[in-house]
């Protein structure tokens, strides 16, 4: 295995290209038209165009990607997450094309990728599941039939894409009046995200925590689960913040969840990296199987930080046919605490509306205990065609308060202009008393936002107002007749400033 095609874009493509370079493997990037100058293209050894901007014509174009991989002489294909990562037809096309697919077999993807089939596997493995429909809801179902199926499950419920993941193609329904719109929206989103519009219904637990177990499985039957990740900080089923370990998981519960995860993976004939998601009912201490993500998870860095295992390198090793030789006990004993904040190009002060655009200025966070997995550089354009993840900031500390303090420090340092991001939301969250105490569940963010919905914008302090007035006055003064700034090196500042002006002054 010498040459890997990365069938993805953005930060995860960059992450995988870095792993390839560290492992001495050649990397091949692919790009849609608007991604010609994207960071993942710039960092790769080779790069090939795969079509127009809409994902269905490029990053979801199985034939094109397999053709490029074969023509470029790739030995393997890494799908990242999203796009074709959980598409069994793609894994199959790679196998048919003589390419190693860095992930599970097409059969395992098909089995666990179907949310309904996966639930059946969990039941066979003796793992509790959330009540719901055992089969997908028929495309042809009439409104009356839909209402009847929903009634059997009971409200509140979730409409979920059978092929779904990451909150795409999922809608919450509180009462029967919302059902039809929710099914339509979920189907349409599922189709555009996964090319499959099938959906099913699932009971919505009241205030559950979302906790998940990462695992690695090699081709020789070794299955290694890792200490859990806490992913309850989410909005509209889109994860915002993850941490490991979870404050809500006791040693006993960890043992229970990790062995449940390993049993499910074994029954599914699972290989490579995967994640079993659970909903944790804190009132009863019971964890229910939710679904399996049959690929690398967005939030894998925090697991790497507390265990020292490079999960992408491990994926590549498993794909090469190597045996896992990690010490299973170390994977369940986290060293310290890690947190990740997902920096999305969304406006937290305007209901998290997407905020595509050009990044005019960028200074990522750095220093001790901070890791930034970014897909952009200064000057990058965040296109409207793909998801809005800009970068993932992860922090490590010897305990949770230190990891939180470090995250706040890192995000305060993170300068990104030209687009709106979720950073201001995180800075507020990291000061919230309930968050700091670990008292939260999957409904927490909506409640937090609701609680503060009335009092936006925060009133400015006297000092903040003064500073804003001064800065505006200076900018107004200097934009009328640009003059050099004051400094010990007057002429240098002048040169610097003139270099930045678009037009010389009359």
């Amino acid at each position: 295995m010498n040459k890997i095609l990365i069938a993805n874009r953005g930060e995860i493509a960059v992450r995988i290209i870095r792993a390839c370079r560290e492992q001495g493997l050649q990397s091949i990037a692919v790009y849609s038209e608007c991604d010609r100058t994207a960071l993942h293209v710039r960092l790769a050894d080779e790069a090939y165009p795969i079509g127009p901007n809409p994902a269905v014509e490029s990053y979801l174009n199985i034939n094109r990607i397999v053709d490029v991989a074969r023509q470029a002489g790739a030995d393997a294909v890494h799908p990242g997450y999203g796009f074709l990562a959980e598409n069994d037809a793609f894994a199959d096309a790679c196998r048919e094309g003589g390419l190693i697919f860095v992930g599970p077999s097409p059969e395992a993807i098909a089995l666990m990728g179907s949310k309904t089939a996966a639930r059946a596997v969990a039941i066979r493995a003796g793992v509790p599941v959330v009540p719901g429909t055992t089969e997908p809801v028929l495309e042809s179902a009439t409104p009356e039939e839909l209402a009847a199926r929903a009634g059997e499950i009971g409200y509140p419920l979730l409409v979920k894409a059978v092929a779904g993941g990451g909150g795409k193609g999922m809608r919450a329904v509180d009462s029967s009046s919302e059902l039809l719109t929710a099914v339509q929206t979920a189907r349409s989103e599922a189709h555009s995200s996964f090319g499959d519009s099938a959906v099913y219904f699932e009971r919505r637990l009241v205030k559950p925590r979302h906790v998940e177990v990462q695992l690695l499985a090699d081709g020789y039957g070794t299955i290694l689960p890792f200490v859990e990740r806490e992913c309850s900080i989410q909005r509209r089923h889109q994860k915002l913040v993850e941490e490991t370990p979870s404050l809500a998981v006791s040693r006993t519960l960890r043992e229970e969840m990790t062995s449940a995860a390993a049993r499910i993976a074994a029954l599914a004939g699972y290989t490579n990296a995967g994640t079993i998601e659970f909903l944790l009912d804190e009132s009863t201490g019971r964890a229910f199987f939710l679904e399996m993500n049959t690929r690398l998870q967005v939030e894998h860095p925090i697991t790497e930080m507390v265990t020292g295992v490079d999960l992408v390198a491990a994926q590549l090793a498993i794909a090469r046919g190597e045996r896992l030789t990690l010490d299973p006990h170390r994977l369940l004993e986290p060293a310290g605490h890690a947190i990740e904040c997902r920096v999305y190009a969304e406006d937290p002060d305007a209901n998290f509306l997407p905020s595509p655009g050009r990044i005019t200025h960028l200074r990522p966070p750095a220093g001790p205990g901070v890791r930034d997995d970014s897909g952009v550089t200064e000057g990058s354009e965040i296109p409207v065609f793909y998801d809005s993840l800009v970068s993932k900031v992860a922090s490590w500390g010897s305990n949770r308060p230190l990891a939180v303090a470090r995250m706040a420090r890192a995000l305060a340092e993170y300068q990104i202009r030209g687009i709106k991001t979720t950073i201001p939301f995180f800075l507020r969250l990291l000061k919230d008393a309930d968050f700091l105490a670990g008292r939260f569940d999957t409904t927490f963010v909506e409640r937090l936002l609701g609680r503060h919905a009335g009092d936006r914008p925060d009133p400015l302090s006297v000092e903040a107002r003064t500073i804003a007035l001064m800065a505006v006055a200076l900018q107004a003064l200097h934009s009328e007749a640009p003059v050099p700034t004051a400094s010990a090196d007057g002429w240098k500042e002048r040169a610097r400033f003139e270099g930045l002006r678009e037009w010389p002054t009359a």
């Binding site: 994902a55 795409k168 719109t181 339509q184 929206t185 349409s188 989103e189 555009s192 995200s193 889109q238 190009a345 969304e346 002060d349 305007a350 509306l353 997407p354 905020s355 595509p356 200025h361 409207v384 065609f385 793909y386 998801d387 809005s388 305060a412 202009r417 201001p424 914008p457 925060d458 009133p459 400015l460 302090s461 000092e463 903040a464 107002r465 003064t466 500073i467 804003a468 007035l469 001064m470 800065a471 505006v472 006055a473 200076l474 900018q475 107004a476 003064l477 200097h478 934009s479 009328e480 700034t485 004051a486 400094s487 007057g490 500042e493 400033f497 930045l500 002006r501």
Partner: protein, 172 residues
């Protein structure tokens, strides 16, 4: 130079002068004076050191014409500016019109593609009822009626690519 600057609905009178050797400025804000060490870091960014020693990096985008946006560490604020005797510019508002009277225009809050139109012209809608669904960055965003009324116009149609601020429908 004396400016009238409006932030958060409150107007301040700001006099700014050079004070002593560069990079010092004297600001007089609503009658209170302070000498500040201000250096421009780039076209939009200033480093200020106040008399109390506190240090602040502030970015300012925009112009006196369009209004300014100030990036403070706590949050972004918009500011309108007028020189003495001129009209104050309007602070940059959001993309959606208020809940007051008059026709309510449903505008695209970001560039994207219209996925579905949920109403027809002439239909009665309630406040909060979905009007149009716009997809951007793989998320569908349902745009809702800001208030109850009758759908007067629909400019959106499924598949249409829209720029930020495009009027998609009017409810009256």
């Amino acid at each position: 130079m004396t400016l009238q600057i409006e932030i958060d609905g409150r107007l301040s009178r700001v006099l700014v002068e050079r004070a002593g050797s560069e990079p010092r400025y004297r600001f007089t804000i609503d009658g209170q004076s302070a000498d500040v060490d201000a250096v421009r870091l780039d076209r939009w960014t200033w480093s200020l050191i106040l008399p109390d020693g506190s240090q602040h990096v502030v970015a300012v985008r925009g112009s006196a014409m369009s209004g300014f946006t100030v990036h403070l560490s706590s949050r972004d604020v918009t500011a309108g500016v007028a020189r003495r005797g001129h009209r104050t510019s309007r602070p940059l508002g959001g993309g959606q019109e208020g809940i007051g009277s008059g026709p309510a225009r449903i505008m695209a809050p970001m560039p994207g593609k219209v996925v579905r139109v949920l109403v027809t012209v002439g239909q009665n809608v309630q406040a909060g009822e979905g009007i149009v669904v716009v997809e951007a960055m793989k998320m569908e965003n349902e745009l809702r009626a800001p208030r109850a009324g009758v759908v007067r116009e629909i400019a959106a149609r499924p598949g249409l690519s829209v720029e930020v601020g495009a009027v998609l429908a009017v409810v009256d």
